[in-house]
């Protein structure tokens, strides 16, 4: 996450005096009958690392292409740095894009690819050379300057694409699934590199991704999208711990969802979920009314597992172990409750030679605190 030089945390969206770089105001985009973007309003601030997250077809790429100028909104206004963008073509915007396919020019060398945009600006030769060298250094590709794109690896191509899109020092850099083509290990390394580069250059980044882990890692704020709408726009912590809907809770990370209806709102929110059982108690995730049908959302790592009935917690259920998944750093237990639902619960494997207390078919108790779960309207 980007942190400003001052001691306080970088959060311009909370500062009423901060001026947003991008203002998206009531933007709708239709392709024929299909509404790709449905009346979205959003503000993105300078130096943010902003992620548009959602499944394919949710409209995130369309929104990004409108920022780049490749699509024009059907209605609504997009302004960048105070300027209305509706009549500005892509080649006249202080916005650059890193393409999902990288779109490196195959007939040009790495050096010439990076210099491409600078040459269009009509800079003199020394200035171009100096800037290209600076970019090559930034992405650590100095040795490969003379190679053609087909002579370097996928990870190197990704960095050339990044260097090329940063060379013109845009106000806004758009990244379309920038790490999608890399393998997992390289992807994780590159995520941190991206954050480093974003911090060094101070450029505003908007990244489009369907990979929630990637969005959570790199972004200062995440916008979760579905069917052309913004479902929630918040910091990764809030998105994870305070999702405003079942959709967001389910899309980000792992979650157990138990369906029921709101039975009380006195101490937290109570959810009646099965006949003859005590209600589950959690935090209300949105405004709720009594009797409303709702889901109880609880993350697997917030559930404790024990052989004895825990007396100190109100949220406790008994069940039978159905499956155990050993993942190395943690183990996942799938516990079947008598009434049918299966609850996932994660336990960290802290010591190397752990005595594992539970095995298949064991009767166990699952418990969690009153503040661990959320009650979300359905």
């Amino acid at each position: 996450m980007a942190v400003s030089g001052k001691d306080d945390v970088f959060a311009p969206w909370k500062d009423a005096t901060a001026e947003p770089l991008i203002k998206i105001n009531g933007v709708t985009k239709r392709f024929g009958d299909f509404t790709a973007i449905d009346n979205i309003s959003l503000e993105i601030y300078p130096q943010e690392f902003f992620a548009l997250l959602g499944p394919s077809g949710c409209g995130k790429t369309t929104l990004m292409r409108m920022l780049a100028g490749f699509e024009t909104p059907t209605s609504g206004v997009i302004s960048i740095d105070g300027q209305d963008m509706s009549t500005v073509p892509p080649n006249k915007r202080a916005v650059n894009m890193m393409f999902q396919s990288y779109a490196l020019f195959p007939h040009l060398s790495v050096w010439e690819n990076i210099a491409f945009g600078l040459r269009r600006d009509g800079l003199d030769k020394e200035k171009i050379a100096a800037r290209v060298e600076e970019m090559l250094k930034l992405v650590q590709l100095g040795k490969f300057a003379k190679r053609k794109p087909h002579q370097i690896s996928g990870g190197q191509r990704q960095r050339v694409a990044l260097a090329r899109s940063l060379a013109k020092a845009p106000k806004l850099l758009l990244l379309d699934e920038p790490l999608g083509a890399l393998d997992k290990k390289l992807r994780q390394e590159t995520q941190f590199e991206l954050m480093d580069i974003q911090e060094k250059t101070g450029t505003t980044f908007v990244i489009v991704t369907h990979d929630q882990e990637e969005a959570m890692t790199v972004a200062s704020r995440v916008a979760v999208m579905d069917h052309g709408q913004l479902i929630q726009v918040e910091t990764p912590e809030v998105i994870y711990e305070q999702p405003n809907s079942v959709y967001v809770a389910d899309f980000i990370g792992d979650v157990n969802l138990i369906e029921g209806s709101v039975s009380g709102l006195d101490s937290g929110a109570e959810l009646a979920w099965a006949e003859g059982r005590d209600p589950l108690i959690g935090q209300p995730g949105a405004s709720l009314s009594k009797g409303q049908s709702a889901s109880f959302a609880i993350r697997p790592e917030k559930i404790a597992i024990s052989a004895e009935e825990p007396q100190d917690r109100r949220n406790r259920v008994q069940g039978k172990i159905l499956d155990i998944g050993y993942l190395g750093n943690l183990s996942t237990y799938h516990v079947e409750l008598p009434d049918g639902p299966i609850i996932k619960c994660e336990v960290g494997n802290r010591s190397r030679i752990e005595r594992r207390d539970f095995t298949w078919e064991d009767e166990v108790w699952l418990s969690w605190s009153d503040t661990a779960g959320l009650v979300l309207p359905r």
């Binding site: 195959p106 491409f116 087909h150 090329r164």
Partner: protein, 295 residues
């Protein structure tokens, strides 16, 4: 088994290229004669070793010397080269926009457009060239149409001029230009053009800086595919060209059939082949480089 498989193309080349080439080469070194076949010497194995020696001693380069003595021949070679270069350029001018339009057309249209380019091959080349006589002659469709629109008051003389030859060549070889260019343009990633625009190019700049360089292999291949057969073209100049249209293919035909001078005709053919070897080798190298670049 493996030798057999590898051997098949070699046997093919030997029987269908090298043997005929050897025969033509031999005739070009012979002398004209009033006989059947109309040249001498002919190889007679019954004469034994002495007969073979006698046969080889009669072969000489006389016909090649003759080609340099009459300026008709080198003028015909030069004129053929000039017509082939100009015609290739004209075909490129006509073919590139068509290929570009096809590659940019909606995907569901492309097979139909491709079909339209290939369709003329379904009728005989000769008939199609004859059809152009009907279009280009003084009383032809083109003149009638132009007279009807009032653009001209006197019919134009197009048939039996070099203009008609160029029209015929461009028409005939257009598919050979369109197809390789279309293949390279169609493969091009559309996001490359968006990237160029994103980096500050106008549409026209993006065309010059990205589309054209990437289409280069197709353009080069297309140019060779048109240039090589055009250089030796005989049918089009003899049907559409006039008496002043000088092309080596036509000269070769006249030597062979009108003058019945097989040895000189063979010498003309051998020289033509030597001239063609250069562009053919260049073409092969271009194809090789493209294959390497794709790997």
């Amino acid at each position: 088994m493996r030798r057999l498989l590898v051997g098949v193309p070699y046997v093919w080349l030997l029987v269908l290229f090298l043997v005929p080439f050897g025969i033509v080469l031999k005739i070009s070194l012979s002398d004209i004669a009033l006989a059947i076949p109309p040249y001498t010497p002919t190889l007679d194995l019954s004469g034994g070793w002495a007969g073979i020696r006698e046969f080889f001693s009669q072969l000489d380069l006389e016909n090649y010397v003759f080609l340099t003595s009459d300026d008709l021949y080198w003028k015909a070679y030069l004129s053929s080269l000039q017509i082939a270069v100009i015609a290739t350029f004209l075909t490129l001018l006509a073919g590139f926009p068509i290929a570009y339009g096809m590659a940019r057309a909606p995907e569901e249209w492309r097979p139909a457009l491709l079909m339209l380019v290939i369709l003329p091959f379904w009728t005989s080349f000769l008939i199609r060239v004859y059809a152009w006589i009907g279009i280009l002659s003084t009383e032809g469709f083109l003149n009638q149409f132009l007279l009807w629109t009032g653009l001209i008051s006197e019919p134009l003389t197009i048939l039996n001029t070099n203009t008609a030859v160029y029209i015929g060549i461009v028409y005939t070889y257009l598919p050979f230009m369109i197809l390789p260019i279309y293949a390279t343009l169609e493969r091009m990633d559309a996001s490359l053009l968006e990237a160029a625009e994103d980096l500050g190019c106008s549409r026209i700049q993006a065309f010059w800086l990205v589309t054209l360089p990437l289409a280069r292999p197709g353009v080069v291949a297309g140019c060779f595919l048109v240039f090589i057969p055009t250089l030796g073209e005989f049918v089009i100049p003899s049907l559409l060209g006039g008496s002043d249209t000088l092309m080596i293919g036509k000269v070769l035909w006249e030597e062979f059939f009108n003058n019945r001078d097989w040895p000189v005709a063979s010498a003309v053919a051998i020289i033509l082949l030597l001239i063609l070897i250069v562009p053919i080798i260049l073409f092969q190298r271009n194809q090789q480089l493209n294959r390497e670049a794709e790997q």
